[in-house]
């Protein structure tokens, strides 16, 4: 595999998903203002779907593209995390409407971000195995089911499922609130 320049192996795949994410987010939030129900609903369905896919599953595109363009493991991981991080940051900034900067920073630890992170770990594992599988098909000597990506899939999926199954996310939300009260204080 030829190691392409940083723009092609790192920035472009990230940027493509970023573009889909930001355009769909913008259009989604404009759709309801159009005032024509059929257009609103159609546009919201399309952009909502794209937004969800780009934030949650963008890694499944970014990781393989970066892989085949010669990005290192560190670069692939970083590239996979950038867009979800930006999304989480946008959500955090939303909180500044009511709360302090430090309180909005704590919001990075909210259950949804944790959940998303676990999902990303699993996806990176899946993408890694997929890439290795393609390489092997091309005749390269690689181990497809390596312990690293397999562990990522198992741990990531296990956490995604158990965190949700554990009280539909309510229990982890309770821990998040307890942490908030410990750090920022409460009267009890």
């Amino acid at each position: 595999m030829v190691k392409q320049d940083i723009k092609r192996r790192f920035f472009y795949p990230v940027f493509i998903i970023f573009l889909i994410m930001s355009i769909s987010w913008t259009l989604y939030n404009i759709a309801w203002r159009i005032g024509i129900p059929s257009i609103h609903q159609t546009l919201a369905t399309i952009t909502g779907t794209l937004l969800f896919l780009s934030v949650t599953f963008g890694t499944l595109f970014i990781y393989p593209v970066a892989y085949f363009r010669g990005a290192s493991l560190k670069e692939r991981i970083l590239a996979s995390l950038i867009n979800p991080f930006l999304w989480a940051t946008k959500e955090n900034l939303r909180l500044l409407i009511s709360f302090s900067f430090s309180e909005s920073l704590y919001y990075y630890l909210n259950p949804l971000s944790i959940w998303l992170l676990c999902g990303l770990v699993a996806q990176m594992g899946i993408a890694e195995i997929f890439c290795r599988h393609l390489l092997k098909k091309r005749g390269e000597a690689v181990r497809v089911l390596a312990p690293g990506p397999l562990s990522a899939i198992i741990i990531g999926l296990f956490l995604v499922i158990t965190l949700f199954a554990w009280g539909q996310g309510e229990n982890i939300y309770v821990i998040f609130l307890e942490g908030y009260r410990k750090i920022f204080g409460s009267d009890f």
């Binding site: 609103h40 779907t49 409407i97 309180e103 919001y107 259950p111 009280g167 309510e170 908030y180 009267d187």
Partner: protein, 472 residues
């Protein structure tokens, strides 16, 4: 002693009450008989009615069959509305669970009882109506969701039976919720919480009836359901009941709305927005089924003619209106709550509606008034009995709206006033103040703040708000 002696409409009224009734009837003349004011005398002195307060959680005021909802089935609550009196303008001043619950118990605004949001603890410094009513000779029970912040449940000795939970920040869970019964951790008897709480309430009433050594004691029962708080988990046999129903969401939202703008944290993560709404309706129907069972039991036990039932919600609920989900915001869908009072002494007025403004802080003084207990001066609320008796009785002109920001919910603190015709809200920061003409713009789509008509309204609304803040 049997409770039917209280019933003017029952054929089995006893001689003492017949004489009393005839005496009062003769004194005021036959014409007065048709007047609603008659209701005042229908609770004979010395006899105290049983009082039941049923609270549901985060239910929009019109999500009931009697409010012409397109598909929800709520025959139990519908029967309360049919046989009781419905308050069309019932509101909560603070649109968040814990403050609202504290207001119901203490009859005080949140700035007075101190539970400003779900992180500020219940101090117990304000006396609850349950404590006052115990002093008036009532057996008392609090069964269900307490959900006031603090370490564990408070010790309130005047509550004879205290069944609640602290699980998941006091929110509990629909399935297998561990209970605390009079301070003791207790496994649930039934899998579904709403059913378990109903069982406990029935058991309490039966026990109260069995303790008939000497004069029968009246009871006051506070039955507080978790339904319909998210995440919505209906029981198995109701699950999917509304799966084929068409949900008409407000025009400003769409199927993806539950996953955007932070709404995913409102317990509506999975499925489309319409699907979540259907589940919410199923949870309400599940609660209603238990309410129906409970009402049937009251009839079966012969308690109906001496039992007053008040039904309310701690908050309303937004389902996409104003592109918002949940509670907290001062919009009508949140601050307006269902409030129904069914009592034997207003049976002639069954099905009537009252237009006067009623608040959750009125529940405590109303219950004390019913029980013949002096209403303490530190209660901000007012008894609703005069309005129940007389549809033309004067009501309050306005109520205070107050909210303190609550992490991590993204609503700034605000203060406002809601009159019978207008609403004014000032936010702590970021958001522009709002003035709505509720008569001509009931959906609150047109903010008049900064407009000519808004400028005209502003001084009076501000004066009213400030007066309410000062307790005037």
């Amino acid at each position: 002693m049997d409770n039917k002696n209280n019933d003017i409409f029952s054929k089995s009224i006893d001689r003492r009450h017949m004489i009393k009734l005839m005496g009062s009837t003769a004194a005021v003349g036959l014409a007065w008989l048709a007047s609603p004011a008659m209701a005042k005398n229908l609770i004979p002195k010395g006899d105290k009615p049983n009082i039941i307060f049923i609270l549901c959680d985060n239910v929009q005021y019109d999500d009931f069959g009697f409010m012409n909802h397109p598909f929800i089935q709520t025959p139990g609550v519908d029967s309360l509305a049919r046989d009781g009196i419905v308050f069309d303008n019932a509101f909560i001043p603070t649109s968040l669970c814990s403050p609202s619950r504290a207001s119901i118990l203490t009859g005080a605004y949140a700035h007075n009882h101190g539970v400003k949001h779900n992180h500020t603890p219940w101090t117990g410094k304000k006396t609850t109506f349950m404590e006052y009513i115990k002093g008036a000779g009532y057996d008392t029970a609090f069964i269900g969701k307490w959900h006031m912040p603090g370490r564990g449940l408070p010790a309130i000795p005047s509550i004879d039976l205290f069944v609640s939970y602290t699980y998941r920040e006091g929110q509990g869970s629909y399935m297998n919720c561990p209970l605390i019964v009079n301070g003791k951790h207790t496994p649930p008897g039934k899998k579904y919480l709403t059913e378990e709480l109903t069982d406990r309430a029935i058991e309490f009433m039966e026990k109260n009836r069995r303790n008939a050594d000497g004069p029968q004691k009246p009871f006051c029962l506070y039955l507080s359901h978790r339904a319909a708080h998210p995440p919505f988990v209906p029981p198995k046999d109701i699950r999917g009941m509304y799966a084929d129903k068409k949900v008409a969401l407000p025009g400003e939202v769409d199927s993806w709305f539950s996953k955007t703008n932070g709404n995913v944290f409102q317990g509506i993560m999975m499925g489309s927005y319409e699907n979540q709404y259907r589940k919410y309706c199923e949870v309400i129907t599940a609660m209603d089924r238990q309410i129906q069972r409970f009402l049937d039991k009251i009839d079966e036990m012969g308690l109906r003619n001496n039992t007053i039932i008040i039904f309310a919600a701690d908050n309303g609920m937004m389902w996409g209106e104003h592109r918002c989900h949940g509670i907290r915001r001062p919009y009508e869908e949140v601050i307006r709550v269902p409030l129904i009072v069914r009592s034997p002494w207003t049976a002639k007025m069954a099905g009537e509606h009252r237009k006067q403004m009623a608040l959750n802080i009125d529940v405590a003084p109303t219950i004390l008034d019913i029980a013949g207990v002096h209403i303490p001066a530190d209660m901000d609320g007012e008894s609703l009995l005069p309005i129940l008796r007389d549809r033309d009785a004067p009501g309050r002109k306005a109520c205070l709206l107050e909210f303190w920001k609550y992490y991590p919910e993204n609503t700034p603190s605000y203060v406002g006033v809601r009159t019978m015709t207008h609403k004014y809200v000032e936010y702590e920061k970021t958001l522009k103040p709002q003035i709505f003409d509720l008569v001509n713009d009931p959906r609150e789509q047109n903010n008049l703040y900064g407009t000519q008509s808004g400028d005209k309204l502003l001084p009076e609304l501000k004066t009213m708000m400030e007066a309410l803040m000062q307790g005037k």
